[in-house]
């Protein structure tokens, strides 16, 4: 913290502040406005206090979406973090093979999200998709358009396929940053492979893993496009997550008040969880 104090630095930050104020603050204020008013017409609005909040928070459909969302984000984190770290441990630290592996590994990250949905729509179909046909050949009755559990699992597998590379890339960056001396010391001590991982690599990875957890949590909590294309939120409500629910409320039914109230709650929930993850993961050490 030996940076010089310089209030003129605000001039440099000003463009960003104006930009973000325009694209985030103004809209957010509109949302707050809507959440406490009933809009009857262009110039007719009534203050309703916390009515919309109460209505939204007691909506059973929202509770369903929220539990599905929490379960989904939880499973996504539990599946993608260990898998991503495991894959990263397998990538050689240097050489032509490593950069080639990185390119292939990163490919799913660069596919537009709706195309990800389209790919899995084709890949997982029971009649024309490789994945669906294979599973059915194994004697398991699999049809993601009719069976809620199958649909939910398909969305999950799609997410693991799509986002594990991000965790792997981040973890790989962290592994590369570990100085050789650490490994040599461990070698002299005769440490086992697992001990090296447990006492050298894992502690050193904490920084990048924090980023990975935060990014994966935030993004899986906001997931919209992929399930929208793959299942449209169905069958029933089995893959309707929070963003789907909100979009339906706001654009589908045009329920401005409840949609706005829900938006605020949604945003606060993400902030809260991100803050908890962040403080827990950076506290020790």
């Amino acid at each position: 913290m030996d940076k010089p104090q310089n209030q003129r630095a605000w001039l440099f930050v000003l463009p960003v502040v104006i930009m973000v104020a325009f694209s985030a603050l103004v809209p957010l204020m509109t949302v707050v406005n809507y959440s406490v008013q009933d809009i009857l017409g262009p110039e007719q609005r009534v203050w309703v206090g916390n009515e919309w909040y109460r209505k939204v928070l007691t909506d059973p459909e929202l509770h369903g979406a929220l539990w599905r969302q929490l379960l989904y984000s939880g499973v996504v984190l539990l599946a993608e973090l260990p898998l991503g770290v495991a894959v990263a441990l397998c990538i050689p630290l240097s050489g032509a093979g490593s950069s080639l592996a990185l390119v292939f590994l990163g490919l799913p990250l660069l596919i537009p999200w709706n195309v990800v949905g389209t790919i899995w729509q084709m890949f997982a179909r029971g009649d024309i998709g490789l994945f669906g046909v294979l599973i059915n050949k194994l004697g398991i009755d699999y049809n993601y358009t009719a069976d809620p559990v199958a649909a939910w699992l398909t969305v999950l597998i799609m997410d693991v396929w799509h986002w594990t590379p991000l965790v792997a890339l981040l973890a790989y960056a962290g592994l590369r940053a570990i100085p050789d001396a650490y490994y040599q010391a461990a070698h002299i001590d005769g440490a086992s492979r697992f001990a090296i991982f447990r006492h050298i690599e894992l502690p050193k990875l904490k920084g990048v893993l924090t980023i990975a957890v935060l990014l994966r949590f935030m993004d899986s909590f906001m997931i919209y496009t992929e399930p929208f294309v793959l299942t449209g939120g169905g069958p029933g409500n089995s893959t309707t997550f929070l963003s789907q629910y909100l979009t339906r409320l706001a654009v589908g039914q045009f329920d401005l008040g409840p949609a706005a109230a829900f938006s605020i709650v949604y945003f606060l929930v993400i902030l809260l969880f991100s803050y908890i993850f962040y403080t827990v993961m950076t506290r020790e050490g």
């Binding site: 973000v20 694209s23 957010l28 496009t225 993400i270």
Partner: protein, 263 residues
Amino acid sequence: MSMLVLGLYIACSLVPIYWLVCMSLKTNQEILGGFSLLPAHFDLTNYVTILTDPDWNQGYINSITYVAINTVISLAVALPAAYAFSRYRFLGDKHLFFWLLTNRMSPPAVFLLPFFQLYSSIGLFDTPWAVALSHTLFTVPLAVWILEGFISGIPREIDETAYLDGYSFPRFFVRIFIPLIRSGLGVTAFFCFMFSWVELLLARTLTSVEAKPIAATMTRTVSAAGMDWGVLAAAGVITIVPGAIVIGFVRNYIAKGFALGRV
């Protein structure tokens, strides 16, 4: 052993993409007629359809237009800010930085309606500008975050030496500083490009006809004209190409790009 695991993982992760490519080379009858691992003959009709039908190729042009605008805007506003965050302390700097990051955390669905009204009221609805500006919601915080990490990696002595040598600030910035963080700018541009290119919800809501992005063209075709699987697959393959080209360029810097910085 570890190479085997890695190879296996990469092979598995490429299978869905292989399937997409495979579908794009089949005709619709072949896709629906029976299951086969390889296309019977390499049929490029689907690609020809996309490249010649203005409904389709205009979508690509629209997408690239707003992604380019977004990347330029994001870099232009984020660079000075990242420099300030990295080099100076000033009133409220930490709070400001965290506030910027919270925008990365806000679900686009929350901003759907206000954006729609905002851009309609200033007459930008259905232009690439509306989509580009709305995407700055998440690209600008990300750009500041990544650039700050890169700039902090450059010793401050370089700035000071330049001033001692009589460089004015703007000259130092353009002549010395920007060349130094070229790779950082590249990675940042890559991430802005990527997140703007893959987003659908805002892009679809803020456009209708004139500026319709390719992603929206794809979803609307699905719901309207039944399933034209072959063309849809070909359209998907083409959307992967720009990303694949860009990742080839920046692969060595990507992982470095995220530094938790000061948060």
